[in-house]
Amino acid sequence: MKRNRERSLFIVSFLAPAFILFTAFVAVPCVRALLYSLEKWDGFSEPKWVGYENFVLLFNESDIFLIALRHNLILIVAGATCITALSLFFAALLHRRVHGAGLFRVTFFFPNVISSVAISLLWVLLYSTTDFGVINGFLKWLAGGASQLRLPLQWLGRGDVTVDLPYPFVDSKHLIYAVIPMMVWAATGFYLVLFLAAMENIPETFYEAAVLDGASGVAQFFYITLPLIREVLTVGLVFLLIGCLKFFDPIWIMENQFPSKDSHVLATLLYQKVFSEYNVGYGSAVAVLLFVLVFLSTLITLRLSRREALEY
C-alpha cells in the first residue's frame, strides 16, 4: 500500500512541471485564441462578443487577407515544390556514393543552422540594386552590358531607389517571388539530410537486383528509391507545408518591419493587425484559420500517403 502511494507520488511529481507549463502556456492560450477570434477587442477596453463576424470581415472587408493567403499558397506551390525536388535530387546523387559525399552533406546543411534574420539580411544585399547586388549584376551581365539592363531588372529592383542605399531592394509586389530562391537556398540542406537518411536504409540488394535486370539509374530512383522512402517523404512534406504556412521572419525583415498590403503573408498580417492596429479579434481570426490550414494540410498529406505501407 505504501509502495503504491510512493509510486503515484513519483509519477505525479515527474509529470507536474511539464503538465502545468504546457497547460498554462500552450493549451489554455489555444482555447483563448479561439475565443478572441469571436470577439471585437482592442486589447484595453471591454471585449464585445461578435460571433463569427471577424471571419466574415477577413473575406469581405478588403482583399488584404486573400492576398496574404495567396502568398502563402505561392510559397507552397513554388517554394515547397522546388525544395522537395532539389533535395530529392541531391539526396539521390549523394546516395550513389560520390567522393566527398560527407563534405557536401555537411556544407549543404549550413544555411539551416543560421538565423533566418541573418539570412534575410544577407539576401537583401544579394538582391540589392546597387553594386552589392550580385543577382542583379548577374542579370545585367546576362543582358549584355549596362545599356540593356532595364528589362530583366524590373521585377527585382525597385525603380525609385536611391543608388547609394542598397536596401529597399525589391518591389513589395514581387517580394514573395524574390523570397522563394532564398527559401530554397536555406531549406534544401535539411530535407536532403532527411531523405538521404531514409535512402541509406534501403537494402543494397534491391539495387543489385535492379542492375541485373538492366534498370537505369533513373528507373531505380522512381521504382525503388521513391516508393521505399515514401513515409519519410510524407514527413518532409508536412514539415514544409507547416513552414510555408507559418512563414514570417523573412517578409518582416525584408520589409524593414513594415510589410505593405502587397507583401503580407498570414503571419505578418496577424502581427500587424494585433500589435499595430490593436484589432485583436481580427488578428486572432487569422491565427485560427492558420491553425485550421496547418491541421488540414497535415491530415490530407498523411491520408494521401497512407494508402499502402510497404514492408521490406
Partner: protein, 306 residues
C-alpha cells in the same frame, strides 16, 4: 564514355550548389574584415588585409577596419549584451526543457498508469499548434499573470514581470518546446532495457535515484540530440522575442541584428553590418560542426520513426 560524362555532370552540379552555399557566407565574412570605404570601392574584392593596402590609404587601414567593425558591433552596438542575453535565454530554456521533458517522458515511457496514453497524446497534440496561434493570447495572459502574481507576492517584496523580461521569454520557449522534446525522449526511454530500473529498485535505490543515476545517463544520446535541435531553434528564434522583448538591454541576437541593420543602413556602415552578421552566424555554425554527427543521427532517427 557516357558513365564518365554522368560522373562529371554529377560533380559539376554538386560543386555549383556547394559554391552557392559557401560563397555568400564567405563574402559576408570577408566584408566584415573591411571598412565601409573599402567595401564601397569594390563589394567583391579581397580584403586589403590579405592583399596589402593600396598606396593611397594608410598601411594600417586594414587592421584598423577590423578593429572598428568588431569594436563598433560588440561594444557600441551592444552585440556583447545581445550575445549574453541569447546565451542566458538559450541555456536557461534548454535546462528547463530537458529537465521537464525528460521527467515527463520517463514516466510516460516506463510507468503504465491509468491515463498514460491520454497524457502522452495531450502533450503531442501541441505539435500541431502553430506558434502564431498562442502568440496573441500569451501576450495578454502575461499581463494578467504579472499583475496577479505581483499582487500575491507583494507581501514578500517580490514583483512578477513577464513582459519584456528574459524570464518571460524563457517560460514561453520551455512551454513551446515540450511537445517535440517529450516525443523524442519518450521514444528513447522506451528503447532502454526495463530490467535496469528493476535492478536499481532491488538494490534499494528509490525511484528518484534510479532516474537520476541509471536512466538519465543511459538516455544521454537522446538528450544530446534533443538539445541540439532546441539550441538551434531557440538561438535563432525571432517572432516571440520580437513580441515579448522591447528594451534594448533584454534583446537577443536576432532582435539586435535586426535593429542594428536598420542603424547601419542609415549610417551606411556596412562594415558594422557584416561584423554583426558574422557574430550571429558563428556560434550556430560552430556548434553544428562540432555536433553534426548527433544532429544527423537525430534526423535519421526521426526519419525512421516517421
Amino acid at each position: 564514355m557516357a558513365a564518365n560524362f554522368r560522373k562529371t555532370l554529377t560533380y559539376a552540379i554538386l560543386i555549383v550548389w556547394f559554391l552557392a552555399v559557401v560563397l555568400p557566407l564567405w563574402w559576408v565574412f570577408q566584408n566584415s574584415l573591411r571598412s565601409s570605404q573599402e567595401i564601397f570601392r569594390n563589394p567583391f574584392g579581397t580584403p586589403w588585409l590579405f592583399t596589402g593596402a593600396p598606396p593611397d590609404v594608410s598601411p594600417d587601414a586594414p587592421v584598423q577596419a577590423i578593429r572598428d567593425n568588431y569594436f563598433n558591433a560588440w561594444v557600441k552596438s551592444q552585440f556583447s549584451s545581445y550575445f549574453l542575453n541569447s546565451l542566458v535565454v538559450t541555456a536557461a530554456s534548454l535546462a528547463g526543457i530537458l529537465a521537464f521533458s525528460a521527467m515527463a517522458a520517463y514516466v510516460i515511457a516506463r510507468f503504465p498508469f491509468r491515463g498514460n496514453r491520454a497524457v502522452f497524446l495531450y502533450f503531442i497534440s501541441g505539435m500541431m499548434v502553430p506558434a502564431q496561434l498562442v502568440l496573441v493570447p500569451l501576450f495578454f495572459e502575461f499581463t494578467y499573470l504579472s499583475r496577479w502574481g505581483s499582487r500575491l507576492l507583494a507581501p514578500l517584496g517580490l514583483e512578477v514581470q513577464l513582459h519584456d523580461t528574459i524570464t518571460g521569454l524563457v517560460t514561453i520557449y520551455i512551454a513551446l518546446s515540450l511537445p517535440f522534446t517529450i516525443l523524442v525522449l519518450t521514444g528513447f526511454f522506451k528503447s532502454l532495457p526495463g530490467e535496469l530500473r528493476e535492478a536499481g529498485i532491488m538494490d534499494g535505490c528509490g525511484e528518484y535515484r534510479v532516474f537520476w543515476h541509471v536512466m538519465l545517463p543511459l538516455a544521454k544520446p537522446g538528450i544530446v540530440t534533443a538539445a541540439i535541435f532546441n539550441f538551434l531553434g531557440i538561438w535563432n528564434e525571432y517572432l516571440f522575442a520580437l513580441v515579448f522583448v522591447n528594451s534594448s538591454d533584454n534583446k537577443t541576437l536576432p532582435l539586435g541584428l535586426a535593429a542594428v541593420s536598420i542603424q547601419a543602413q542609415y549610417k551606411t556602415d556596412f562594415g558594422l553590418m557584416f561584423a554583426g552578421l558574422v557574430i550571429v552566424m558563428i556560434p550556430t555554425l560552430f556548434v553544428y560542426l562540432l555536433l553534426q554527427r548527433h544532429l544527423t543521427r537525430g534526423i535519421t532517427l526521426g526519419a525512421l520513426k516517421g
